[in-house]
Symmetry: C3
Subunit: 139 residues, 3 copies
Amino acid sequence: MKSRTEYLEFNTGKRVDFINITDDVEEAVRKSGVREGFCLVNAMHITASVFINDAEEGLLQDFAKWLEALAPHEPTTRYEHNLTGEVNGDAHIKRTVMGREVVVAITRGELDFGPWEQIYYGEFDGRRPKRVLVKIIGE
Amino acid sequence: MKSRTEYLEFNTGKRVDFINITDDVEEAVRKSGVREGFCLVNAMHITASVFINDAEEGLLQDFAKWLEALAPHEPTTRYEHNLTGEVNGDAHIKRTVMGREVVVAITRGELDFGPWEQIYYGEFDGRRPKRVLVKIIGE
Amino acid sequence: MKSRTEYLEFNTGKRVDFINITDDVEEAVRKSGVREGFCLVNAMHITASVFINDAEEGLLQDFAKWLEALAPHEPTTRYEHNLTGEVNGDAHIKRTVMGREVVVAITRGELDFGPWEQIYYGEFDGRRPKRVLVKIIGE
């Protein structure tokens, strides 16, 4: 069995942001030399997500707007968590809805994707350094 | 390490539908010859889901109704994504809530399931051909 | 390839509860002897979750409150599923939002976690025995 571990770093300028990381993950798969296996991609921070969806700007805006209605950032007093002094209670919930991780099949040395699948990093409490883990196992 | 890759195809008559695919996945596991490993099952399209829940018709209706309230199909002008000419902005969100994929343990040659676990394909923008990937790795 | 399978058991006193199971999973990883691989942790019941988030009591309360607003337990007549005689339609939905499973990378023999990642069991229809599966594969 082969394995490869990589860490991607992000520090977004905005509190909420979406970044297409498909190319980074594809490069990690190439470097791994794995032909048949699994690729795990997960946020290492609990106010950020990794998810798969469409590379379409309007849709990303829809997600941001829909999530804000579902778990509003303000009033920050809405969340018990914010009694800790943080103001990111909403971000913990938004990340949960969007998901921590994706597992993608590797077939014949490539991500085995449908026509529109793209891997996104979703940031809900940005403006600080954060990491994403890419772990590949297989043969 | 052994691996096996299968693609299931669906073309639902309804826009929103749920299909129990447990038997298909079990058959793929048998064919793989894997005794101990992981089975990944994921939608290859970004307006469809794979999830695990109960094979109970009332519950599936509850999911459909609850999702429709959470991310209504209409008015279609509600979603920026629909400015592309598509009218499936809601389906991208519904799929995200229900999940893209499941990873199931294989133990002694079988899906290692609790008493009520069943694997479902969730379609939120049907009436077109779509695929699900089943990828098995292990020994 | 090595593998290890463990089952954790829970029987919560409350209908809705969250239990930090990180230590149990870490112990399973140590016992597995796997240095590089994947660890799957999933609820084996369809009204319970496994998810990763912060070990902070206020946040857990926020999750419980937010989920109750999103899919209220009462009136129980709200859910078609409850026509079966059960009253846990809400729990099936809550578990879906929080997620069935997590897949965690194992690197150099340990869970490859960010600074705040903790694994939680989320119970939404407790006061009965339930199980969580921990499955580890790798080398």
